[in-house]
């Protein structure tokens, strides 16, 4: 950063980076639930690869957040403290990331919508003035480009597939769609930092929708109509699912604090 940031800016920055970290972590964790249960060995490996990519992104963001928060508080906070010792109401992940995996169509839908958002988001984050965020975005963009391609190909094959695959795909899209609006409605830390480090999220929506529509067109699926959108994740108001995810994910560190490999 060029000038010494004020504490207020740093608080917004911390929240902002945590939002990115939490979204990647929770999505990665959910996808890891497929490990060993994939429909075939190739897909099992594909989806666990994606989960690993996301957790890697999360780590990059958490390490940066830890730096920022340590500076704010004047005490040393680590990436592990942030991932394992915060409660659900402190987590800022998008709601879509905490939804259950459901069937293959449901999981693919989540990955597709989320990756498309990440794709256009990271493209803009590349140019932000914060060098750390820009570097993380550059690395993550390559991974996300593949996630988007892979999930888009699955959407096409399931949508334009058998009667059953189409039915499941349509149901999945209908169920997940109300959780996509949150991606484009900014909260205070996003608006505050828009000019310096951030991204104008509402400006991403058109590109995102274009991508969705193009793939859906090929998949012979229709884009759902405007509907009421779920929100709150970015401010720590979550569905009932996050509690269970964190209980499983954090149990070991909370039961045996400081435990290491």
């Amino acid at each position: 950063m060029n000038s010494q940031p004020t504490n207020k800016t740093n608080n917004f920055l911390a929240d902002y980076v945590l939002f990115l970290a939490d979204s990647s972590l929770i999505m990665g964790h959910r996808l890891s639930e497929w490990t060993g249960h994939g429909p075939s060995i190739e897909q099992d490996i594909a989806i666990t690869n994606i989960a690993l990519d996301l957790i890697g992104q999360a780590r990059n963001f958490y390490q940066y957040a830890a730096e920022v928060i340590s500076e704010n508080k004047g005490e040393k906070i680590t990436e592990d403290d942030l991932a394992y010792l915060r409660d659900a109401h402190e987590y800022k992940n998008l709601l879509i990331t905490e939804l259950p995996n459901g069937d293959w169509a449901c999981t693919i839908s989540k990955i597709f919508f989320f990756s498309a958002w990440q794709y256009f988001y990271y493209q803009r984050l590349l140019y932000c003035t914060d060098k750390q965020l820009s570097a993380i975005a550059e690395k993550s963009l390559k991974e996300v480009t593949y996630h988007l391609k892979w999930s888009g190909d699955w959407i096409t094959r399931l949508g334009d597939g058998t009667e059953e695959s189409k039915r499941r795909m349509e149901k999945a899209v209908e169920d997940i769609w109300p959780y996509t609006g949150e991606m484009f409605k900014p909260v205070d830390y996003e608006t505050e930092l828009e000019n310096s480090v951030g991204v104008n999220v509402s400006s991403i929506r058109n590109e995102w929708l274009e991508k969705i529509s193009s793939v859906f067109g090929e998949a012979t699926l229709s884009v759902p109509r405007e509907t009421w959108m779920q929100q709150g994740g970015k401010n720590g108001v979550h569905t009932e699912h996050l509690g269970y995810i964190l209980a499983e994910m954090q149990f070991l560190q909370r039961a045996y604090p400081g435990l290491e490999w």
């Binding site: 075939s40 190739e42 593949y146 391609k149 094959r157």
Partner: protein, 95 residues
């Protein structure tokens, strides 16, 4: 997902320093595009390669091992076919 309905593909990967694609294994996929993506996921996790070829297994034709004798033994004792009688100048590095 019913693997019996998805065809089998042979996968060939060329490494970063390599000049040729080497056979690394096989996998199931519904079509060519999926086969390449699956090959990328399964066979390039540890930077094994930078180029992927996939061929449906049914298009690979192999020589019959029972015919190995008549196919390959005759080449064994024809030393005149090997270019080993030339003195190469030192300047030629890549022969």
């Amino acid at each position: 997902m019913n693997n019996q309905q998805e065809p089998l593909w042979e996968v060939f990967i060329r490494s970063k320093q390599g000049l040729d694609h080497k056979h690394v294994g096989s996998l199931h996929a519904a079509d060519a595009k999926m086969a390449i993506e699956n090959a990328r996921d399964v066979y390039t996790r540890r930077m094994e390669g930078v180029s992927i070829w996939v061929v449906e297994s049914k298009y690979i034709h192999a020589s019959n091992p029972d015919e190995a004798g008549s196919l390959f033994d005759p080449a064994n004792d024809k030393v005149y076919r090997h270019p080993t009688f030339y003195d190469l100048p030192d300047e030629l590095k890549y022969m």
